[in-house]
Symmetry: D2
Subunit: 354 residues, 4 copies
């Protein structure tokens, strides 16, 4: 009760209210696009999560996200003895709350079955989750697609459903792909990741995604400084808006980030890397060496390795200028593999320092 | 759904399950007692809080508490469009969960009225909160007392109800005191504190209390390192058990701690301080000075000032040994006031370094 | 010996050597200028400091400085039983070392007398410190000026020489000013500051300066997160070079920063503030309020207060976007005083959010 | 000059001087012994280090050490153009300084040769380093031994002298062992470690040692929280004194710690582990499980693994209580290997939770 009363009092007295604060993440835009930081898979008390939907918005503000989706399980509601069984309740409760906080809220739900196939699937950008809950899982997909849904296959290598941890496309997934109904697959989920997803997404032209799938508290799961941030999908959108986010996702313009790992299609990974990094002109030289500086202006640390006879690692710490001394005999540009940027199941991004 | 399935799989395979971790707080026991770290006032989605009751238990484990009470508002349930109106739901949901985690859960509720008097009152150690919800606030108190309740007057100087921030005992509070129905008053609430409460508690023989009154997330409100911890009531109990906690609270054996401030009755503050601190024998001397070490073996920093002609502050940082050089002419014991230990509205604890 | 040998081995094998890392400070440039972060007053074992000169360069790299001066006492060398008495030794030892690390090293020394007047004075941009050591302090100044020195009056309110802590210009200082030989005064020194210095600098057209005056370790004195950084002088230079730094200092283009406090002349403080801050268009409105975001893209927190009938503080945390809800009746621009930006002894910078 | 004057002023005015603070490390004593935290190998400007000797004492206070030795290279003094060539200067400069700060200072030096054998050797507990500097390395050892020295073989697998990183005892080392002149070998040096050293120490009854071998700043090398602390030798001494430290070292009563790794002889590792850990009685049970708590009351995290058919790891975080749920069918005591406690080259300590 305290909060509500405070609010009224303040409104009478003051004309300016400061409401809260959003962290700035140092993550560059791509040319022609803004980089939206997104986590589109999480839970609340309306399925098996442990928080009220507004907490998910508060966490997004604190973590500097641009967009979230609350995607409670459609058919699994173990708390319904105490909580109303309404799959659209998170949306109703948070829509206005998110708008006031400048967080783009995506209406979503999670359609799940206990076995793989088909596993779990998020339906995003829907209008009414309650209309998606059908007996057959295909019926669920169909109802979601009729609302214009973006379908994301969640944790495809989840060990409870794929004991070997390796994702596999089954018939039902191929049918979805053929109909153009599957739009994305999670590469990062919670603290796991599935390298093979990169090949699937490249082959079938799907968006690569990262989600926390959080049930409890983000801050307790992803403790700093061990974790830099929760898993994030970077979406390269034409502007910072709900509709531009949607357009960009359907177009598959994403990269994913978690801890020290960045992953996605080379067409996005490469320009993103070069937006994070800048190389100075030589600032000094002595008899044997030339000195240059490499600036990593982002929150993401990069590890570059040159695979020559005497391999040598360059570690570009986040938000830091790294000084490099190059032999006067060295041939420019210096060629490296970025060991923390995956552009294929077993393929690192090749980069140059020029 | 994920969590539950994981659990079953693990149970089949392994005989040992590691469940989680409780922080060790460095806070001494008193002779004959164990110091129980308690926060007995907080909220969940069952009134106007934003978390599921189990989160409150998880937060207690993380923060190293021994006991908590979830005390949702009895008569103020703004989320009941979505959440069942059952004042005992937090207890039902968390009882077993807390036992598994070795957290003492106290059954409680908050009885509130919009104006002061009487303000808000926590009823702790009750059996059935639903039986306490009466039309008259006195009826509520009576029903709680019939269940053996410990009544704590919450945030008595809360500015929404006492614009000057200064607590005042009204007739209804005196009536409660006369009947022996009022047992405690909050000195710390959330981030505020009310020095006058110490005088009220000493005069009427009540327990001095500290609570977070948390509605959102503890970790977002009390960010480290700015905040060492949430507000805590130290209860000096005969053992670490629910019943011993209850006995100690009714006997008024408490101290309260928040940030750098400790407060309570001198009979507890003084021995507690001497349990935190030890003074070494001189370990070295030169022509003019004798060197001693003062060890502060606790998480609480202490600030000592000697009020002589040339006042001088000794700052005993938490978990640290402070080296002191004393003039050979100095007279022992060195006498100080502990500026961060309140034993009265305007009275600091006097201490000696011997 | 270990280091040297390692170095040789690596040189044989590898063509690229990574040498170390410089922190990025988020501090904006002014239009037409780059902001050089400087600390131009510190000590080593060549007077009464406790580190070798190269440590000062390493600390500068770690802290993200652009320029430092090592300014050992010219006439006070208590360690000379063990260390050669050569006031230019720090320069000789660190010149190349600083160049390799892209730190601008300024050749300097500190000319001191035990009493005030004249107190202590740094001579910067000198050629040969040994030639500055004369019997009379005026002779020292003269010798320094003949080398083109920039003279900075250090800690003018240092309590050992000015027990009341308030700086005062004496005859000798006025004589220096008249001759155009005094160029700057320290506003921040170590952990102290002297508000009156702002008036002196404005009146006599001197540069406002901040220095650590460090004798021990920077990291032990200015512990994070309590301290954001050491005291820094921001010098607005035409480029990042030794000569541009010198030009800018003689022109008096500086601001100073320590902890949450920024100080200097309004002509620099105002544009600097507006380079740190940006205000969004309204991103949302409801019946009563308009919502805007204020981005503080710098490492410096700002505290704005509007001095109306109901004063209200806006706290713009460093590297954070603050959400503000404004009444629909509010008149733009919103007018504030920046309580942590001093532009006079008792004068805060006035700013607008438009 | 500032410091000295401050000191005098304070002495006149005040009778109590607070000098500084020593961190408390949570590391248990063994029965009958106190655990002295030692780092007995580090450098200053008197060989190729970068700090004045007093900094080494300050760092020891800050890090909560009990004893240090400053062991500058006897025959390698690259800074002697500027610094007096006196191998006993560190001792002369720091002896009184350390006493005032209650740090046990051990008089030492490092006797080195550019090749292996013999590599580098610390001579500790000597009287006069200058008398140890002989043409032949054996002459150096002899001179040190005549002064009662404790000889420690430093970084025996240092890659500059042993490219494969594996230590090997050469004839000269065997000769030292036969004469009883070699007393210890470094297991940890700087950030490296050499598992084979454990076998050497067990076979020849030598003390296992850990040292920082620091040349620059401890705080820059061992950044928290990545590093918990610098490498430390735990010496189990009869009391906290110089002579008791010496007796314990000659008796070989040590363990070594760095990051998450503890190493040494089983006779010390086993009781040390059991002093860190305590196991509670079952505090709760349900149909299938019994719940116990394991308290790790130390700064050292422990990782236990039971090597059964379904291996399962118990991670006992530092200063934390870990809750364990055991199947009712489980057989006590639970048997584990402590994966972070080495008692042989490839041998982990076996422990039981009872």
């Amino acid at each position: 009760m305290k909060k509500q009363i405070t609010f009224i009092l303040l409104f009478v007295f003051f004309t300016v209210l400061v409401h809260g604060q959003r962290k700035i993440n140092r993550l560059p835009d791509l040319e022609g696009y803004v980089t939206l930081k997104c986590d589109l898979h999480m839970h609340t008390v309306f399925s098996d999560g442990q928080v009220w939907p507004t907490i998910r918005v508060d966490e997004a503000v604190r973590d500097g996200l641009d967009a979230i989706a609350i995607t409670d399980h459609l058919e699994y509601t173990p708390l319904q003895e105490f909580v109303k069984n309404d799959p659209d309740a998170p949306w109703k409760i948070s829509e206005e709350y998110a708008k006031e906080r400048n967080i783009i809220l995506v209406h979503g739900t999670e359609i799940g079955r206990n076995t793989m196939p088909p596993g779990h699937m998020n339906a995003l950008f829907i209008k009414d989750a309650s209309l998606c809950n059908k007996d057959s899982v295909w019926g669920c997909y169909e109802a979601a697609i009729q609302q214009g849904a973006f379908l994301m296959w969640n944790h495809p290598g989840w060990k409870n459903q794929r004991p070997d941890g390796i994702p596999k496309l089954y018939d039902i997934h191929y049918r979805l792909i053929e109909k153009g109904w599957l739009h994305a697959i999670e590469f990062f989920n919670n603290v796991d990741y599935y390298p093979l997803v990169l090949e699937m997404c490249k082959q079938h032209n799907l968006a690569v995604m990262a989600s926390s799938d959080m049930h409890g508290l983000i801050s307790d799961k992803y403790k700093k400084p061990e974790y830099i941030n929760r898993p994030m999908t970077f979406v390269f959108a034409k502007e910072r808006s709900h509709d531009a986010l949607k357009e960009a996702l359907f177009a598959g313009r994403t990269l994913v980030w978690f801890r020290d790992k960045l992953a996605g299609k080379e067409e996005f990974a490469k320009p993103f890397f070069y937006r994070c990094i800048s190389v100075s002109k030589p600032y000094y030289e002595n008899d044997k060496k030339i000195f240059i500086e490499v600036t990593n202006n982002s929150d993401i640390p990069f590890t570059l390795i040159n695979g020559g006879k005497f391999p040598r690692t360059v570690f570009l710490e986040a938000n830091t200028v790294t000084r490099i001394a190059v032999s006067k005999n060295a041939v420019f540009p210096l060629v490296y593999e970025a060991e923390n940027i995956l552009v294929g199941e077993k393929e690192f991004l090749k980069v140059e320092l020029k």
